[in-house]
């Protein structure tokens, strides 16, 4: 990084945190610390929701995913607007009117204390695992760029996040999220413009899109239904809707955002804004990955984007095995570049036959490039690298640091760090809230003073920050991080969604029924994960259905355990 990059990076992050701390002053009661005194406007909540969801993983891994697999990942978000509509019509008014701090508190109103406790523990497990991954992504960034150890990077980011989250509570979290989201959008726009500008002069944006499309990288929609295909329209609409329902309706890290709203209407508007903005934003990020792919048609990409493994292959004993693969890769790259230039020339010259001929050469060369890359990855794994090695998470960063001009690199790094901080601060804040409100206050220390719970909330925030930093290395062997995060979430969300569906719509279901249903739902999800090849997007559907069926059956056969509302604290 050059001086200008450092100025942009440090300047933007410092100003974001300072502004957040300024807006978070006066968070001196539990209500203000955890719910911001219910004073947030809809646009702040909306940007905070989007910023919490868009972690560094979104930018690092999604762009790499698009480079490798095309844009079909965007279908994952098609169910989100439907979920938002359902939540606005159901969960938002219910949570607001119940005047709860957490979503799980409502479960005790509706069912009983054990159901609330189980849901809280499932959330703590799920979010506790994910928050480590959130920290790990930027650690990759800085280890690639500066060669810093992952642990040190994680520690520096973690301490920064914990300090401002502990100090200012949810107000600081929300207002820093707003600034971080604006930086993210600006940084992405600048990155895309820069990439397109760096393409060869004769290659227009339309040419670039045509080349990406011919390589199958602009495959945004696939109507073909397949249970085992992760991303198609149907898994996106149905599975994605269930995942979004779970995430935005049952995950405290999101629910807490819209519980800070001034009114029900403000909270609804924040979710509907997210519903409208999320797909274009993800499309845009994936499109950047596709354009990076086009850029590398004309500039030779490394065989392996993970620099440490790449250097290892090129030196030492492995070199003799690496050289033939590298030679094939270089040859395939040269043929692909020439074929791409021929396609562009034929397009501009109105020569359909020449275009067709160049296209078939281009596609053959693409296969050869991909084949050589696969061989390179296999060589990494076979010669002491990690098993099932993938370099998806390194593609975008490798490109940024190697080709983007001074200032833009700093801005992109600021985007990635801002995204990490916005996600992790929201997650840590929600983990602390559930720990204190649903576990500590409910089961260990009832009736203490407001000051006591405020202090306990701050201690819990610091604890979860330390926990996240300690478990950040968990993501190292999980391949594409964006998928890893969603898979971890899907292992737990189905049960939570099921129990909230019961709470909202099944008036006859008892607390015991809901409790047994959640246990059965978790068992079904883990069975699907362990013994079938079903795509993770369907886990939420499976879990939710099993919870509802089991809870209904148990409630039917044990009606004595009636649904008496408990006394929530």
């Amino acid at each position: 990084m050059r001086l200008l990059d450092w100025v942009v990076l440090v300047g933007s992050l410092t100003s974001i945190i300072a502004y957040g701390l300024y807006r978070g002053r006066g968070s001196n009661t539990v209500d203000r610390y955890l719910l911001g005194g219910k004073s947030m406007p809809w646009y702040a909540m909306a940007l905070s929701i989007m910023a919490t969801q868009a972690s560094a993983i979104t930018f690092i891994s999604t762009t790499g995913q698009s480079y490798v697999d095309g844009m079909r990942f965007v279908q994952f978000y098609f169910g989100l607007p439907l979920a938002m509509v359902v939540l606005c019509a159901t969960a938002v008014p219910i949570f607001h009117r119940a005047k709860v701090y957490t979503a799980y508190e409502y479960l005790e109103h509706r069912f009983d204390a054990k159901t609330r406790a189980l849901a809280s523990l499932i959330f703590l497990m799920q979010r506790g695992l994910s928050v480590g991954l959130t920290f790990y992504a930027p650690a990759i960034v800085l280890s690639v760029i500066f060669g810093w150890p992952d642990r040190l990077t994680t520690l520096i980011i973690g301490v920064t996040v914990v300090v401002y989250t502990v100090t200012g509570g949810i107000r600081t979290v929300t207002w820093t999220d707003v600034q971080q989201m604006l930086i993210i959008l600006f940084g992405l726009l600048v990155a895309l413009i820069t990439i397109v500008h760096m393409l060869p002069r004769q290659v227009s944006l339309l040419d670039a899109m045509s080349l990406a499309g011919s390589a199958g990288k602009l495959n945004a929609v696939n109507f073909h239904f397949d249970w085992n295909d992760r991303y198609n329209l149907w898994s996106g609409l149905i599975g994605g809707m269930f995942l979004a329902l779970s995430y935005f309706g049952c995950d405290q890290s999101q629910v807490q955002r819209y519980l800070t709203g001034k009114s029900i209407a403000q909270s609804k508007l924040s979710l509907l804004f997210t519903a409208v903005a999320k797909i274009p934003m993800q499309f845009f990020i994936l499109f950047i990955g596709a354009m990076v792919f086009v850029f590398y048609i004309f500039e030779p990409p490394p065989l392996i984007f993970q620099r440490i493994e790449y250097d290892r292959l090129r030196s030492g004993e492995v070199r003799t095995q690496y050289e033939p693969i590298a030679a094939r890769y270089r040859d395939a790259f040269t043929r692909r570049k020439q074929a791409a230039l021929d396609i562009v020339a034929a397009r501009h010259g109105g020569d359909p036959r020449g275009q067709s001929d160049a296209l078939s050469r281009y596609r053959q060369a693409l296969k050869d490039v991909d084949g050589a890359r696969s061989q390179g990855a296999s060589l990494v794994a076979a010669t002491g690298g990690e098993r099932g090695f993938k370099d998806t998470n390194y593609i975008f960063l490798s490109f940024v640091t190697r080709y983007l001009p001074a200032g833009i690199v700093g801005l992109v790094i600021a985007v990635i760090l801002a995204a990490t901080m916005s996600s992790s601060s929201g997650e840590i804040n929600s983990l602390a809230t559930v720990s204190i409100v649903d576990i500590y206050k409910r089961h260990f220390r009832k009736g203490a003073s407001d000051h006591h719970y405020l202090t306990a909330s701050r201690v819990a925030t610091a604890f979860w920050g330390a926990y996240a930093v300690a478990f950040a290395g968990f993501g190292k062997n999980l391949g594409s991080l964006i998928e890893a995060v969603n898979i971890v979430g899907s292992l737990f969300y189905g049960s939570l969604l099921g129990v909230f569906t019961l709470a909202f719509f099944f008036k006859r279901v008892t607390g015991t029924g809901a409790f047994c249903g959640m246990l059965a739902g978790e068992a079904a999800i883990f069975a699907a994960f362990s013994f079938t090849g079903i795509s993770f997007l369907w886990y939420n559907v499976i879990g939710c259905v099993v919870v509802i069926v089991t809870a209904t059956a148990v409630s039917f056969f044990s009606p004595a355990a009636s649904a008496t509302p408990g006394t929530a604290s």
Partner: protein, 45 residues
């Protein structure tokens, strides 16, 4: 219905007059986005 559940009124949205109309607009928007993505895929494939 739990205690206090009716304490907070559901204000109308700032546009389109009623929440169901806003929800319908979001669903329509989704349909248009999917159609646009389909055209995008087909055009560049």
């Amino acid at each position: 219905m739990l205690p206090n559940e009716r304490d907070l009124p559901d204000e109308p949205p700032p546009f389109l007059g009623a929440w169901p109309r806003v929800y319908a607009a979001v669903v329509l928007y989704l349909a248009l986005v999917i159609a646009a993505c389909y055209c995008f895929t087909r055009f560049f494939a």
